[in-house]
């Protein structure tokens, strides 16, 4: 039974010509960091502690970048969640000597944890610097070790990891849909960050499907991509410029 399900799921993959992508509405983001926490919880990302964070060893797969704009008293804080952009022409992929990172047919930049030998070339090559490295053995003090997600491996020291668009959730939805004999619906796949965002600033979907919500937002006149002059073709689209409180 499982074999038949998987075969048809892969079939659908090849037929669908999907490109998973995310839209982040900066006009809605409040910088609450719920997405960061949710990602840690969903993907077994260790918390490194204050001292290691000051040494630059934090391991957030998604981070909220905060920039200050303007002079007092007209200071404004701008929040920008930055995660792996799953670039169509990723500069991190060709440089890995062991093929630990490559591009899947559905547009994900995949990281294979058990293949990584930790050269960190991909980390140096990524212009967004979204790749996290396991500088130490992962530490999950009690009772955090009770809430590890069984769908996601716990990485060893010496391995690079990064946002995977919660590929385990994508696969689960695809398998469930294939088992029920239906298509994956738009909005059915929700990575942890998208699911937990209070103002719904994060939208996830198939950018190649012209009717999906993500795809429609990506065509908005407020849309831009981060560092697109580098030619990396990111799958994450940001929206900004429409707020009223300027």
């Amino acid at each position: 039974m499982a074999k038949a399900v998987r075969a048809s799921a892969e079939q659908k993959l090849e037929e669908n010509n999907r490109r998973w992508g995310m839209v982040i509405d900066l006009d809605r983001c409040t910088g609450c960091q719920a997405c960061v926490v949710a990602c840690h919880a969903e993907n077994n990302v260790p918390v490194v502690g204050e001292h290691e964070a000051t040494r630059g060893h934090s391991m957030h797969w998604i981070r909220i970048e905060r920039y200050w704009e303007g002079e007092y008293p007209n200071v404004k804080a701008r929040f920008m969640p930055v995660l792996c952009q799953h670039c169509g022409e990723a500069p991190c992929e060709p440089v890995c000597p062991v093929f630990a990172t490559y591009h899947t047919p559905e547009g994900l930049n995949a990281q294979v944890y058990n293949r990584c030998i930790g050269t960190r070339f991909c980390g140096a090559a990524c212009p967004y610097k979204v790749r996290a490295f396991n500088w130490f053995r992962p530490d999950f003090p009690e009772p955090l070790d009770q809430q590890l997600n069984p769908d996601v491996s716990v990485r060893q020291r010496g391995i690079i990891e990064k946002c995977s668009f919660c590929v385990q959730r994508i696969r689960r939805v695809e398998l469930d849909a294939a088992a029920s004999g239906r298509e994956v619906e738009d909005g059915e796949v929700q990575p942890a960050c998208v699911q937990s965002c209070p103002p719904s600033a994060l939208i996830f979907g198939d950018l190649n499907d012209p009717e999906s919500e993500a795809s429609q937002f990506s065509r908005s006149r407020r849309a831009f991509r981060l560092l697109d002059f580098l030619g990396t073709d990111p799958a994450v689209v940001y929206l900004k410029g429409g707020e009223t409180n300027v």
């Binding site: 630059g56 060893h57 920039y67 440089v95 093929f99 070339f121």
Partner: protein, 479 residues
């Protein structure tokens, strides 16, 4: 008693000795020495080891053991015990890696390039230079392992059929690194060994005990028949020609580790020639440092004379001029282009937090070039030692600035960071320096340091000839 009188042309007759000017009397290849005396001059320092030697070895072994402990500590606890972080993923390890690969270039420069140009002043220093290359590459080859997060899986970078259905990614510059450094290491080691065989035979003929057994094994039964010499010459000529593209490609590949990324200031087409020029500069300077020290510690004043240091100093100076040119050529286009991140990087380097290192680099690399233009300084060994040590301090700093400085600033200002090496990194770097010095010291005691057969060959070519009122050294165009 002079033997080996030159084949043609005027020869030096004893009664004409007083006409030799002071300069020519000091020339190695015109020296009135028998082959037996030369052999003894080379073999004697090898056999004698005083307490200073053993103390040096003990200190070096201690540093190496401490470094190994630090490496084991880092493997066990994780790379976080070093100072590397996000975004400075590469730090002192990669900088030292480039430094060692750079040092290795001088050996090929001297033994291969100068052999092809038939520059006779290379004769007493080729073996020392090639040994420097081989050992520097050994030390460099450690770093791709040291900086791996999961070093116990390093063999996944080796291309062999396996049941994981995966080959390594040959598009990655790290794979090119592995293959190129391995090739260069094999090439220079074999070159070193091949040119060593006749001298091992000479040592075999003059030693007893464990040394006799050792030399006998590695001399492979060399007798010096014409067939053997002919084949050796042919092989050395082929080696010289092959090793030159190899050494050019190795450092280009190391430069492409950086240049193929889109990191600002790394992504530059001039990085490869700039690295090569820097390598030749730092390698030749290191060679001069080593030769000054070895000459003193092994009493090789017979072989390493003023003419050699003069010529080497000139070569260092020329390499330095080349480095300055390539640095400026890279800098001017970056400065002029005004890319925002590059502008920030340049500012950081010249007037910001990295300024002390940058100005150290520039002073240490440029000042010696000016001083080395003077013959008196080139032949004053204390000055030469000081200047060449300074050059390598400057070049090491330059490597650190390239690797660390350019990772500290990125396109998104939120990702900017800093880097400070920890005791782990410093211990491991010190370990490779100690390892290099130890290998070199042991090498110089086990193997004849000076290639005497090449010197004897050179004396065959050299004679004094009278042109009008001048008595000049002449090199015969044989071989």
């Amino acid at each position: 008693m002079s033997d080996h009188e030159p084949m043609a042309g005027d020869s030096v007759l004893p009664e004409r000795q007083s006409e030799l000017s002071q300069e020519y009397r000091e020339r190695l290849l015109l020296a009135q020495r028998t082959d037996a005396e030369i052999n003894a001059a080379v073999l004697q320092p090898m056999m004698e080891t005083g307490p200073k030697f053993w103390i040096t070895v003990a200190i070096l072994v201690a540093i190496i053991l401490w470094g190994l402990y630090a490496w084991g500590y880092m493997i066990y606890w994780g790379m976080g015990t070093a100072g590397i972080n996000n975004p400075v993923y590469w730090g002192l390890f990669i900088a030292t890696f480039i430094f060692w690969v750079g040092i290795s270039h001088a050996g090929t420069m001297i033994s291969a390039v100068l052999r092809i140009f038939k520059a006779d002043w290379r004769r007493p220093i080729t073996r020392g230079a090639e040994a420097m290359t081989a050992f520097a590459l050994l030390m460099a080859g450690l770093y791709p392992f040291i900086h791996l997060g999961r070093v116990w899986k390093f063999y996944w970078m080796l291309p062999y059929p396996n049941n994981r259905f995966m080959w390594p990614n040959f598009q990655s510059p790290l794979m090119w690194d592995m293959v190129a450094i391995f090739t260069y290491l094999i090439g220079s080691s074999l070159y070193l060994y091949l040119a060593l065989i006749p001298d091992l035979a000479m040592a075999r003929d003059h030693s007893v005990g464990w040394r006799y057994k050792l030399y006998r094994t590695f001399a492979l039964g060399w007798r010096g028949t014409e067939g053997e010499w002919h084949k050796l010459h042919r092989a050395l000529n082929i080696f010289s020609v092959i090793i030159i593209p190899v050494f050019l490609s190795v450092h280009s590949i190391v430069a492409w580790d950086f240049a193929v990324t889109i990191q600002p200031r790394w992504h530059s087409s001039i990085l490869a020639p700039y690295f090569i020029m820097g390598a030749v500069y730092s390698g030749l300077a290191a060679l001069a440092t080593i030769l000054v020290i070895v000459r003193k510690s092994m009493r090789l004043q017979e072989f390493l004379r003023r003419e050699h240091f003069d010529a080497l100093g000139k070569l260092v100076m020329v390499a330095g001029l080349g480095w300055i040119y390539f640095w400026f050529a890279g800098f001017i286009v970056e400065w002029y282009g005004n890319d925002p991140v590059i502008r920030e990087l340049i500012h950081d380097e010249i007037t910001g937090k990295l300024a002390p290192l940058f100005w150290l680099q520039m002073t240490a690399n440029v000042l010696p070039v000016i001083f080395l233009t003077f013959h008196k300084i080139r032949t004053n060994l204390k000055w030469l030692l000081g200047l060449t040590l300074l050059i390598n301090v400057g070049m090491y700093t330059e490597r650190v600035l390239i690797v660390v400085g350019n990772l500290q600033r990125n396109y998104l200002p939120f990702d900017w960071g800093t880097y400070k090496p920890t005791w782990v990194e410093i211990s491991i770097v010190a370990m490779t320096f100690a390892g290099f010095i130890l290998l070199y010291t042991l090498f110089s005691r086990i193997v004849p340091y000076v290639p005497v057969w090449e010197i004897k060959e050179g004396r065959l070519r050299y004679s004094l000839r009278r042109i009008g009122r001048l008595l000049v050294p002449t090199a015969a165009e044989i071989d």
